[in-house]
Symmetry: C2
Subunit: 407 residues, 2 copies
């Protein structure tokens, strides 16, 4: 894409009430636009990142048997009354609205009810199971405050998968696969080394739930990390008894701030009970379906990547989720640059081409803020030195390479 | 995909209150699930169709200079007060909700305000224009009744593009390009031959708006079609004066029912005025930006395709938007079928493989209902005849072809 056609512009300063690093940088660089606290629009650069993340998650969910659908945002009251979650005393962050006839409806704040209700129509025999439907959709939570940028939104983009299994062994088997798939996702988006499988509070159906926590000062959670074992415990279950059961030694644990970038937990029959989700086994006996929940907030994940990958000049995107791989900057050499741009695009590379009339200093400062992994500069100077300057965003010095080496 | 892994099932009958053909067929075949009147979830087959349509529209929008972003669903009151559309007396189909602090917010029912407000931050010079941002998003309209299936939803999936131009010539130039792109979209999704550029009522800024109307008895609009000129006039502007100005002859016009599958219109300064969208021209003089609007409902388009492509057995998808190209049906020959399935997939073909234990009659009836363009049947009989039976969904008879000819 030519930067002259990208309508967004970078800014040096933004409103002081935007306190989080992720929202500051993403807003200054033109990735997002704040509609109100906790609600952001995704501008062209931001949408490209979200789509990269979405594709990675989709691939990993498909690889463990996930099947994608898309449930509605508007949800009818009756479905949520079945699980007891319509009541504002039970769930205090609903957004509700109403139809013309006065019927109250809700904006989905999670997806267990929608999935359970749909599956109820289709599942009756052991042959119909297991199944692993998931969807990507906007989720709405009426938070009292919202000051963490896209780490905690009132409207946010979310992937939810639910597992519907015949028995505990089948459930556990998938649960372990999901753990591996989740870790792969964090590795692929470039934050795997900072992300810990973390034991958190469970429910009647399992002693623990599992969170994936990424270390960052921007996090709202406190976890205790065992670096060697690559695991952690959330403060909420940090007791001697729990540590003992997990064979963790208090002396090896370090207290850290972290952001929860995903969580998985066993639902047991919590939803299959009220929704009457049963199946007949080989002997014709009725059995309850066991469920599990596997969520990832894509916008939060994007914000976390920014929190852990930036310097004082701007963002530093991992290549896998960067809006473009190359930032091609022409300093008075638009014709030559255009040729490089076309050739890279023919090769299938994603390039942002800064073809505007601005000073070198302005272009470099913007490129650092936007944070595309590879910067290519073509100028009179670079051509005299033998080609173009190629520099990684996370390295200080670039090098001159022949133009042909780019392709 | 193996049909044994697709959790949806087809049904012979559905609730009688679903009166539209599109919703009946799509529900019976497991493409959509009705959450409430006018609100549907998209099941795996349905989502595949929506994504095909989305990709076609995206390609055509990009080809005329469109740039994709994603605006939020939750919208703050202040923005809509600027254009005067917050008032329920002006817009009577709002869904509104509120934040914890009591502030009223709305669910976007269209996108002019969101786009204008964002663009205001970035546009100041003639160098910044023209621009053509668009987004795909869920749109919410609180209709009093909703009985047309996915032709008219309370929640529906929509593409909106807005043009921001420097002057009338630039606006008109893009407007004509958009007309061509729209017609390409309808051609590509298989309804071009039934879709007419239709003159409809304009506004202060242009004598007419333009609709794309697809002929079907399911339509809510009445249009007058000139077959030879491939154009039509909406009943709302069907006057002698209008016909004369369009050089149409009343005797050549035929009255038809049609559904509006897209519309484009000139907004002039209707939104750039209240949002203060101006730019400085080459001489440093302030000028108003001229806008245009270009919308397509993807769910409505999907419903229209069903309305015009079905028979008494089920749907008949055009290949470009079909959930799969091939429906591979094994009659007791799963091993051989699996080999064909794998080879077709290696070739990059999309195949739904019916590997279930059901009778031939049941499988064929389901395949006809689901409506995938090519049916491949492998059975003892077909193998004895020399291969597999290949049949098009819209043809009565199939033919036996050698297995190798499939690849």
């Amino acid at each position: 894409m030519k930067q002259s056609q990208l309508f967004t512009k970078t800014r040096k300063e933004i409103s002081k009430d935007e306190v989080s690093v992720n929202a500051q940088l993403l807003t200054r660089a033109g990735y997002i636009y704040k509609e109100m606290a906790g609600v952001y629009s995704y501008l062209p650069l931001g949408l490209r990142v979200i789509k990269k993340i979405e594709n990675i998650i989709r691939e990993e969910m498909n690889s463990i048997g996930g099947i994608e659908m898309k449930t509605s945002i508007l949800q009818n009251k009756e479905i949520w009354e079945k699980s007891g979650r319509w009541d504002d005393n039970i769930v205090d962050n609903w957004f509700k609205t109403e139809l013309k006839n006065g019927a109250k409806i809700g904006l989905s704040f999670t997806n267990e009810e929608a999935h359970s209700n749909i599956l109820k129509q289709y599942v009756s025999s052991y042959k119909d199971l297991p199944i692993y439907p998931y969807d990507f959709k906007e989720i709405f939570r009426n938070e009292v405050r919202s000051k963490s940028g896209i780490l905690r939104g009132r409207e946010f983009y979310w992937k939810a998968l639910y597992s519907f299994s015949r028995n505990e062994a089948e459930h556990n088997d998938f649960y372990e696969k999901a753990k591996v798939a989740y870790q792969k996702i964090y590795n692929r988006v470039g934050i795997g080394h900072l992300t810990y499988l973390t034991f958190a509070s469970g429910s009647t159906f399992s002693k623990f739930s599992h969170e994936f926590q990424t270390l960052t000062e921007a996090g709202e959670d406190i976890i205790y990390v065992d670096e060697k074992k690559k695991m952690a415990v959330n403060k909420e279950v940090y007791t001697d008894e729990v540590l003992q059961s997990l064979e963790l030694d208090k002396k090896e644990l370090v207290e850290k701030k972290a952001v929860e970038v995903g969580n998985i937990f066993t639902l047991g029959t919590k939803f299959s009970e009220p929704f009457g989700l049963k199946y007949k086994n080989e002997k014709g006996e009725e059995q309850r379906i066991l469920m599990g929940s596997y969520g990832i907030g894509l916008s939060r994940l994007m914000g976390t990547i920014v929190e852990v990958n930036h310097d004082d000049k701007g963002m530093i995107w991992p290549e896998s989720v960067a809006p473009f791989k190359y930032h091609l900057i022409s300093l008075g050499k638009n014709e030559e640059a255009e040729e490089i741009y076309n050739k890279l695009q023919e090769k299938g590379e994603e390039v942002l081409f800064d073809d505007r009339e601005l000073s070198a200093g302005e272009k470099f400062a913007e490129a650092d803020l936007i944070g595309i992994p590879y910067r290519i500069v073509i100028s009179e100077k670079s051509l005299q030195a033998g080609g173009v300057e190629l520099k990684k965003r996370n390295e200080e010095k670039g090098e001159i390479i022949e133009v042909q080496k780019l392709f």
